[in-house]
Symmetry: C2
Subunit: 188 residues, 2 copies
């Protein structure tokens, strides 16, 4: 991601495809306030733009997670920070996780090796399980997917206008931690 124009194109692509998967290149160009010709100069093939958008989105999400310091403090608190951090990069998440073919087709091609990319969220979950904070009857991978899934669902609600944006973190956190069942003596 070198200059301003390229950055504008990639972020416009993420933003546009997040809300309208299947948007055409002219639409992306318009969203980026850039000519169609310019877009094609930077990304001769549609696939290149898709790849760049996925990579940038993953970078943004990764940075947000890192900033939440998932490896510090009580796992529950760390998880809450992570969820709050995700809320600030909702577009990137809606984009990458809104179409499983992206993660399935693009990411493998990008890096054909790398045994396990050392996911900090998985680390956090494992740590929480080891400390007896997270359910160790569930696999860490499942918990991670539930985290993504519930977060994504919340973003959908926000996009649809069914939920306020600032409620996301609280709702997701509460749902993750306690499920949907009522608890014994908890009013709030």
């Amino acid at each position: 991601m070198k200059n301003r124009t390229e950055r504008a194109i990639v972020t416009a692509a993420i933003r546009t495809w997040a809300s309208e998967r299947g948007a055409t290149l002219p639409e992306i160009a318009e969203a980026a306030e850039v000519g169609r010709t310019t877009l094609h100069r930077y990304f001769p093939e549609r696939d290149g733009l898709v790849r760049a958008a996925v990579e940038h989105a993953l970078e943004v999400v990764g940075a947000a997670i890192a900033e939440a310091q998932p490896d510090t403090g009580h796992p529950l608190e760390a998880m809450r920070r992570v969820v709050a951090a995700l809320a600030s990069v909702s577009e990137a998440i809606m984009f990458v996780f809104g179409d499983q073919t992206l993660m399935r087709d693009v990411v493998p091609t990008a890096e054909p090796d790398l045994p396990t990319p050392h996911d900090p969220v998985i680390d956090l979950i494992r740590r929480g399980q080891a400390e007896g904070v997270f359910d160790d009857q569930l696999t860490a991978e499942w918990i991670q997917h539930v985290l993504w899934g519930v977060t994504y669902t919340a973003f959908e609600q926000v996009a649809k206008g069914s939920q306020a944006k600032f409620d996301v973190a609280a709702t997701v956190t509460r749902t993750l931690e306690r499920g949907i069942a009522a608890q014994a003596g908890e009013p709030t």
Copy 2:
């Protein structure tokens, strides 16, 4: 849905699009073991097939839910039956919920009126909240979406081979009911 051929086409469409959104009509025709010409005779326009597929998928899911008798017995038990029932119609669910544009564009066109279609799952959740079984700090709509989201996530895992099909109901149920946190004195 009149005859055998039409049924074959619609179910093939659901099955194919569930695993490969963006499959072309020739692919659907092949999956249905039917000539491309025949497909076009039954559904002159692609949109008609999409609509028929969505409607049939919703019917199938609705029937499965009804069979689980969500309005009977303890809400927690009823919810478990519903989740188990959903597991048996995973393809229909992966299809309809794998592309939000389907629910957004197709369903409204199908029935331009109907204030609220009386969703039995929402009823179940409300009943559970009234009986103090489900968290009434969360909206029924949110709980419903979490139910769909977690179920969908589980199906994705199964499709990817990361989870055994017969584990779905148990895992989804446990996650929904307790969240991802460890509980006080619960070994299983």
